[in-house]
């Protein structure tokens, strides 16, 4: 396995073409976008910023993790995003039909960093945080990693993305829902704790996680107790996605112990999970 980080492709703003836009749960869709000029530069963990309408309602784009890079005869020709239909922006996206031109900015953000020594991976996803998992897991498999566990928690059966949509073949899915309608009743930490107890997740493994702040906090504290490092794909409300509006800060503890604001879009969106500081955990040292 190589740890060589390729030079990230600079973002462009271009039109892609919607090839597919299909429901995979009652609330979740996957959109496939043809973008042969941009897709080859996309890296796991990166995101795109999609224009949902030309009418300014809403005005801002919607940032989405790259769910999958689509390959045609071995060459990347497009990409997919996975999204829940929640507000006016994702409603607009959900109404796009094949053939529609869609403007996107990308690729954006940093990419996963897998330690050369990592032989095994655990991916921990909550809710729509399942979005980037397929691309990340596929790239781990391409690096020769075979032992990949995906812990995935959703609200209920209606919100739980089917395993074959969520991850590539060959991953070990461990599912849970808040109400027990799919997999175990409970949270991702329950599965994660069990993995640790059974030595199926140990320091040195590669861990990728994506989900809401509450999940990040619980996973960070659990992994921290066992000295297990993880990489977190964060999301904040964004104005631009490429580092000019300064609208998407999050709090990160620096090596000297000071907490500083970093931009989710260009400093991340991937950060070491143990460095993230969430609302309610702030002490002095952050100037306003």
């Amino acid at each position: 396995m190589s740890n060589a980080t390729p030079e990230l492709a600079p973002p462009v703003c271009v039109d892609g073409e919607v090839l597919e836009n299909r429901w995979i749960t009652p609330v979740t869709k996957v959109m496939k976008i043809h973008a042969p000029d941009v897709a080859p530069g996309m890296q796991p963990g990166q995101f795109v910023n999609l224009e949902t309408t030309k009418t300014l309602v809403p005005m801002l784009r919607r940032p989405m993790s790259i769910h999958k890079v689509v390959k045609h005869q071995g060459i990347a020709s497009g990409f997919c995003v996975l999204y829940d239909v929640i507000g006016p922006g994702t409603q607009n996206l959900s109404e796009m039909t094949p053939g529609t031109k869609i403007s996107f900015v990308g690729p954006l953000g940093n990419m996963i960093t897998v330690p050369e020594t990592a032989r095994r991976a655990t991916i921990i996803a909550g809710g729509v945080g399942i979005g980037p998992v397929k691309f990340v897991a596929e790239s781990l498999q391409e690096r020769g990693m075979r032992d990949i566990t995906v812990v995935y928690g959703a609200r209920d059966a209606d919100h739980s993305v089917p395993v074959h949509e969520a991850m590539p073949d060959g991953c070990r899915p461990l599912l849970c829902t808040d109400d027990g309608s799919v997999g175990r009743k409970g949270f991702v930490t329950s599965w994660t704790e069990e993995l640790i107890e059974r030595n199926r997740l140990t320091p040195g493994d590669y861990v990728f996680t994506c989900g809401p702040h509450a999940m990040f906090k619980a996973v960070r504290d659990l992994l921290g107790k066992h000295g297990i490092a993880a990489e977190a794909a964060t999301e904040e409300f964004m104005g631009c996605g490429f580092g000019v509006c300064f609208g998407c800060p999050l709090y990160q503890r620096q090596p000297d112990g000071q907490v500083e604001m970093k931009l989710c879009c260009v400093d991340g969106c991937l950060f070491p999970l143990d460095t993230l500081v969430f609302e309610g955990e702030l002490e002095d040292g952050v100037s306003a």
Binding site: R61, E236, C245, F246
Partner: protein
């Protein structure tokens, strides 16, 4: 898409002169970027050749480093964006050492936007940048609503005069005074800046506003309030630009909600000599260049052949 058209039948289109002058500052076209919406400019280099813009106005620099305001910093509103960024920047010393060398490679005239927390600080910043090579002009941010005291400099004509005069004392660079719309009457402020030696005024900065999450009974922004920008403020800005154009002898730079060449034409007709594209850079990152490319066609529609022919040609009723 289109069938091939026969070029031979079309009469040659007259060349359109896009160049404009802001006092001694000559720009190839009237399209600049709004401070705070264009980062350091280098972020746009992968979208298009930034050198094709009339000028680049960078994000505000202060004397000391500023971490910026606590999140949330943005709220999207109907046709607008409410922000409370808080002038996050590395401070003048690091900026000159680390950022300015990159800006000099952009190829477009560079306008440095500065904000002091005191009149003296404006002078300090103006002197520091005035001593540097490769800067076309300074824009004085006298009107940021998101820092303590930031609005005061352009709500009182006397203080506005002091800020411009202080900067004028220490540098020969052209000075653009950026005005706040959060005043009863913008004209006396503009006149005070003109009298103090400003080369131009830019209007407007953001409108102070508040977005509310009623379920939480709380403002959405971390600091409670912020500055409103975007297409929803264009008609408000147009009126102020027109008033300034009528009252002032120095050029007016129009800012507020510009996202198309049509928007720019409205500002030019209202009396703006140049414009800045702001919030649209966030959601249509190619748009400033698209405007530069579309502008000649719209100018020709008026039977004009230059930007100068269009500026201030508004016909008011009565």
């Amino acid at each position: 898409m289109n069938a091939t058209t026969t070029q031979a039948e079309a009469p040659p289109e007259p060349a359109v002169d896009l160049s404009v002058e802001l006092g001694p500052l000559k720009l190839a076209n009237p399209i600049g970027t709004g401070s705070g919406t264009y980062g350091k400019g280098v972020e746009f280099q992968s979208f298009y050749d930034v050198a094709r813009l009339g000028c680049v106005v960078v994000k505000t620099i202060t004397v000391e480093e500023r971490a910026g305001n606590p999140p949330p910093r943005l709220a999207e509103t109907a046709g607008g964006l409410l922000n409370s960024i808080g002038l996050q920047n590395p401070g003048v010393e690091r900026y000159i050492a680390e950022v300015l060398p990159k800006l000099r490679t952009l190829g477009a005239p560079l306008v440095i936007n500065i904000a002091g927390h005191t009149v003296e600080a404006f002078g300090e910043l103006a002197a520091a940048f005035g001593a540097e090579e490769g800067i076309a002009a300074l824009e004085l941010n006298m009107s940021c609503p998101n820092v303590s005291g930031g609005l005061d400099y352009s709500t009182d004509p006397k203080v506005a005069h002091e800020v411009v005069a202080r900067a004028k004392d220490v540098t020969d660079l052209p000075l653009i005074a950026k005005l706040s719309p959060n005043v009863t009457d913008i004209v006396p402020i503009g006149l005070a800046c003109q009298e103090a030696g400003a080369t131009a005024v830019s209007a407007i900065n953001t409108y102070v506003g508040m977005a509310i999450d009623w379920r939480k009974r709380k403002p959405i922004l971390g600091r409670g309030f912020g500055g409103l920008s975007g297409p929803c403020i264009k008609v408000l800005a147009l009126r102020l630009v027109h008033r300034l154009y009528q009252a002032l002898d120095i050029p007016v730079i129009g800012i507020g909600g510009i996202q198309t060449a049509d928007d720019v034409m409205e500002y030019l007709v209202a009396g703006a000599t140049a414009v800045q594209v702001g919030t649209a850079n966030f959601y249509r990152p190619n748009c400033a260049l698209e405007i530069v490319e579309a502008l000649p066609g719209l100018i020709r529609e008026l039977g004009a052949t230059s930007v100068r022919d269009v500026v201030g040609t508004l016909e008011m009723p009565g």
